[in-house]
């Protein structure tokens, strides 16, 4: 017997939650960014599972777009982090508080 759809969804949700948790608790920009990627991947997992179990097509196509977007986002995001590191010599978000109040 194959695993149920629910178990895939649960797994995906767990991955999503772990990603979110990482964004919450980590202070290193790079790690935060990795966690954000994790959240996207979690979504794709659910998407593929749904497509498979429901027999619908759009989900699979969507994954392609998500992956592409993620790649572009990572490129831009890392560029920003690099630029920021150049300006501030740090990747710790706690030290980024020029803008407040």
């Amino acid at each position: 017997m194959s695993p149920s759809l629910d178990s895939y969804v649960l797994l995906s949700a767990a991955l999503f939650a772990i990603g979110f948790l990482g964004v919450l608790v980590r202070r290193n920009t790079l790690v935060i960014y990795m966690c954000l990627e994790l959240m996207l991947v979690a979504s794709t997992l659910a998407l593929v599972a749904f497509s498979r179990f429901n027999g619908t097509e759009a989900g699979d196509v969507f994954v392609f777009f998500i992956l592409t977007v993620a790649a572009a986002e990572v490129a831009v995001g890392l560029a920003i982090i690099v630029a920021l590191f150049r300006a501030r010599q740090t990747v710790q978000v706690d030290e980024l508080d020029l803008l407040k109040k």
Binding site: L24, I32, D97, K100
Partner: protein, 605 residues
Amino acid sequence: MTPTAAALAVLLLPLASAATITLFLGRRPQGAATLSVVTAFLVAALALWLAFSGARFSQSWEWLRLGSFSVGVGIKFDDLAALMLSVVGVIGLCVHVFSLGYMAGDPGRARYFGGLSIFMFSMVGIVLADNLFMMFIFWELVGFSSYFLINHWRERQSAADASKKAFIVNRVGDFGFLLGIILCYWANGTVSLGTVGQTPPVVFSRLIPLLLFCGAVGKSAQLPLQIWLPDAMEGPTPVSALIHAATMVAAGIYMLCRVDFLMVGQARQVIAWVGALTALYAALCAITHRDIKKVLAYSTISQLGYMVAAFGLGSVGAAMFHLTTHAFFKALLFLGAGSVILGCHHEQDIFRLGGLRRRMPLTFWTFTVAVAAITGVPFLAGFFSKDAILALSYERSGAIFTVLALTAVLTAFYMLRLWKIVFLGEPRSEAASHSHESGVSVTAPLVLLAALSLVGGYWRAYPGGFGGVFSLIPEAEGAARAVVLATSIAVLLVGAGAALSFYRCDGDDSLKVGFPSLFGLLSVARTSFDTAYDYYVAKVQQRLAMVLNFIDIVGLAGVVVRGLAGATEIVGFGIRALHTGRLSSYVYWFLGGVVILWAYAAGVL
């Protein structure tokens, strides 16, 4: 000229004169004076013509309508109005003419004559008014003219204070007056004197007459609102003669007579007692005063008390009769005093005058006639009218009769004190010793008024007749007649004798020297009302105002408004502080948001 047109002319001529003076003659005092006097002459002539031609009519125009509420302007010209109008016209003319001499050289003459014209307009308005609203309107306007004229010498602090006091005290009285009118309106649906008088009026309580009486209390300076009248002597003396002796203050009596049909027994009783007590109290006050005009002012209050008492005892005739004669001799007294003041370079302290008999003979003789008239020397004007009132009171109420008789003693006492100290003896000051009689414009009115004071009591001789009024004069019969006559002669002798024998013509008040404690007591009694009111104004009213002001500014505008603003700002600061600038804290906001939304979607919230 139809009577209506004439009446309208009487009403509007002074207004036109006032307007012309205000607009065009402000810089031409001579022109203003002339215009004003001519107007006064025309008014007097037309008034007398109207009164004696026997024309009696009423007519009314709607002036304002809002829904069911309508205010009319109209003329009700009956015997009562005719009598009052004649008095106003004659006295007004005398005073205008007198003013020509008295005010000569005053820089504010134009303003003064403008004020007189406004006053004439307002006074005539009261007289002619055919409904209570209209009467109230002119009632207020005479108050304003009085204010304006008392304040004539505006650089004087005392004049400014006195005028303010006069208006405000009158306003207090008018408070009741207007309330009474409003009640009357709601009770009867109208305040037209004609309509309310014809159908049996609805007087649902003693309240209406008593409230209307409040107006008279203020205007006629009855207890406890009498305080303004002595102060009002700050105005020029002719003004005192016209407004604060002969006409305006008597308007209270006139008004009461106008609304006679609204009176009920218990209200009359109150009114009679107020009048009697005022008469007595004012007479007592007059004894100790040194200022010639203020003595006369207290005398006026006292005589007005007589009239009010007469009305309260139920006789419109007696009240109006005394009003008429009083107008003659009191105007004469004031104008005489004016003549003295003018002759003595504005010296008003009687103990600094003296010996004017020889230097100002005409003034002396006319003044003597007036004193005789007011003290009730037989066959002069005052004798008849005062007798009528005494007779009335004898008939109706022994207590009031006693009070009034006592007042008569005092009247004779203080009037002769005044007369003796001012005119007899030797001059006691530079001013008095250089005194002189003034010109014809000053003396002519004196003579005219003296004549009227001599003959004014023979009411049956009045041409044209004011039967509607004078037929109501009560006459004592039989034994009562003798008692009253005896009393009046007795009081005259007692009072006059005491004064003549007691006072010496020197620079000091004999009473003060002889009986200092009595003098002190009377002085305290005189000033007690002012003291009480001053205490109220300064310590109660003003403090209350300050406290409320404090609450308004500190409590409301400060604590509540600024406090609310401040609280908002503190919240603002607090929320601003939420922007910590830390990314990690912002992520928690997202978490919070998602959790709230999830919770709601799941039905937890």
